[in-house]
């Protein structure tokens, strides 16, 4: 498979702190790629560089054959990279439907067309019945799926998910895993996710990258990565695999 998203030697410093240190990896088209690592490992910083929140200090990011590092978030989204936030931010005063319509309007000029697309996405995310509720009245699991829905409505080719499982109960995690699996299989959507919930990572990811202190310490197939001594030492702990 060809590299769809390619991150090459990317670094980011905040004052003296090196948040991401010369990290490289490639996400193949149609794959589900997980980035794991302890808190403060630089996962969200890495995401923010891909999504254009800030440019990398060094290194390049290419998506579908074109350089995207340094582009602002809205242009990166228009190129086909959707994202969710670690701290969920739906548009509180909007209805669930309107929230998703905003995303769908990116590539559609008529609200009617956008509404059709929004309904499609809402059905997929099990939110269709709640479409007239205000986004702020939703429970956390619903809000997480709403963010995925809005992002999905922008018709991304690559979806960046920043800890969408955090705070979910196991049954809700399984539901989210099933939804993401379905999206990946049925629409060919490429997914890059940051995740702490190993249950979800193991169920979803075709490849895993482990970050520690901003540097990649392991990369490979899930079964291999979780057995690497460095990964067990720095992140998972021994009990995770026993």
């Amino acid at each position: 498979m060809s590299a769809f998203l390619s991150v090459n030697g990317v670094s980011k410093r905040f004052r003296g702190l090196v948040a991401v240190d010369r990290t490289s990896f490639e996400v193949p088209e149609g794959g589900i790629f997980a980035v794991i690592g302890p808190n403060g490992a630089g996962k969200t910083t890495l995401f923010n560089m891909i999504a254009g929140v800030f440019p990398p200090d060094a290194g390049t990011i290419t998506f579908a054959g074109e350089r995207i590092d340094g582009l602002p978030p809205d242009r990166i989204c228009r190129r086909g990279i959707g994202r969710t936030f670690q701290v969920v931010g739906p548009f509180p005063a909007l209805s669930v439907e309107d929230d998703v319509i905003v995303g769908a309007l990116l590539h559609r000029h008529h609200v009617g067309d956008a509404r059709v697309r929004a309904h499609e996405v809402l059905r997929r995310l099990d939110l269709y019945d709640k479409r007239d509720q205000r986004a702020s009245s939703l429970t956390l699991p619903d809000r997480k799926r709403l963010e995925v829905a809005r992002s999905l409505a922008t018709d991304p080719k690559l979806l960046l998910l920043d800890e969408v499982m955090a705070g979910l109960r196991p049954t809700e995690t399984d539901r989210m895993v099933a939804i993401l699996h379905g999206l990946n299989r049925e629409t060919g959507l490429t997914i890059l996710l940051i995740e702490h919930v190993m249950r979800a990572v193991m169920a979803l990811a075709s490849r895993i990258l482990v970050l520690h202190h901003g540097a990649a310490i392991a990369e490979g197939l899930p079964e291999q990565v979780v057995r690497e001594p460095a990964v067990i030492d720095s992140y998972l702990g021994v009990e995770a695999i026993t």
């Binding site: 929140v53 978030p73 931010g89 739906p90 548009f91 007239d132 205000r134």
Partner: protein, 334 residues
């Protein structure tokens, strides 16, 4: 188009809207001079409130300097009339672009360099104040001693030159208010309206949903400034005199935003209801006090203050959303 505009509106809301419109059209037939003056003020504030609401209520950008656009519209059209005899409708063709340009400059400076929130509000105050001081020294517009439009006894209403009876101004403002209302509803149901709400709710989330935040904020400030300047032109030809100290003063800007705040920011009826409540009730109060022979200067200001206090503490979303809930009006969406 019309079908789309009235979709989602309950039947009795439409019926009430029709009845209100009929009453407003018929009002000058029964209203005396004083009541007519009050109605003109209400419509004036309802219209400008609607324009201001586009920026604050839709796109979430707090402007505290809308007097600038009123003043630019008023001064541009009045100067063209006084100096060159160019009528107000042609003057609009200059006045509106001038105000829109001013809005674009403020917007560019603020949104390009990420000046937001209170800092943006301060910038809008500052520019309006610059304008006030500047016009105080601009001899072409009469400096601080004012610009006066020639007033003669009118034998008939001259719509083309906006010379005539207040009833004419009343109907012009009524049409403007209705057009602004319909226009804002159409905006809210369009792509740009959705993007504005997204920006208002969460700018970062909007940006990552692919919205060019700068672009859409610019559209909001330009539309709002252009609409506001029209009211300025009417203001100039209605009052026939302009003083920088009055027109550009920050209290004018505050007056503009009180209506929408009391009525309900971000709602379509808020600016209208707010104007009715504030202007209508304040004028009634003044009239009642005068009739009772009580001389209380500043009673109106005190009343504004009390109104604001009451609304902010008891109905932070404004009076209109509360009325909607009470009588079961508004969109079906909750």
């Amino acid at each position: 188009m019309i079908a789309r505009l009235i979709k989602d509106v309950p039947g009795r809301a439409l019926a009430l809207l029709g009845a209100l419109l009929l009453a407003l059209v018929a009002a000058p037939l029964v209203a005396g001079d004083y009541l007519l003056t009050v109605l003109i003020l209400i419509l004036y504030f309802a219209y400008i409130g609607q324009a201001w609401n586009i920026m604050m209520g839709f796109a979430g950008q707090l402007s505290l300097g809308h007097a600038l656009y009123v003043g630019l519209g008023a001064y541009t059209a009045a100067s063209l009339y006084v100096h060159f005899g160019i009528g107000p409708w042609l003057g609009l063709l200059v006045a509106v672009p001038v105000a829109a340009l001013a809005g674009a400059i403020i917007g560019f400076l603020a949104f390009r360099f990420r000046v937001a929130g209170v800092y943006f509000a301060i910038l809008t105050i500052a520019v309006a104040e610059f304008a006030r001081v500047g016009f105080d020294h601009l001899s072409w517009t009469g400096e601080s001693s004012g610009l006066f439009l020639p007033v003669a006894q009118f034998t008939h209403n001259d719509l083309w030159h906006l010379r005539g009876h207040p009833v004419m101004f009343y109907y012009i403002l009524l049409v403007a208010t209705v057009v602004a209302f319909v226009f804002c509803r159409a905006l809210l149901q369009s792509r740009v309206g959705y993007f504005w709400l997204a920006i208002r709710e969460d700018e970062d989330a909007a940006r990552s949903a692919g919205i060019d935040v700068f672009h859409y904020k610019m559209i909001a400030v330009v539309i709002s400034a252009a609409m506001t300047s029209f009211a300025g032109v009417i203001y100039a030809f209605y009052y026939n005199n302009l003083f920088p100290e009055q027109v550009f003063h920050i209290s004018r800007s505050i007056e503009i935003i009180l209506g929408p705040i009391v009525g309900g920011i971000g709602t379509l009826f808020g600016p209208i209801l707010g104007a009715v409540v504030l202007t209508g009730v304040a004028e009634t109060l003044t009239a009642a006090l005068a009739a009772a022979g009580v001389d209380l200067p500043g009673a109106k200001q005190v009343f504004y203050g009390i109104c604001l206090l009451l609304v902010i503490t008891t109905l932070p979303d404004g009076v209109w959303p509360w009325v909607c809930k009470r009588v079961g009006l508004g969109s079906r969406k909750k």
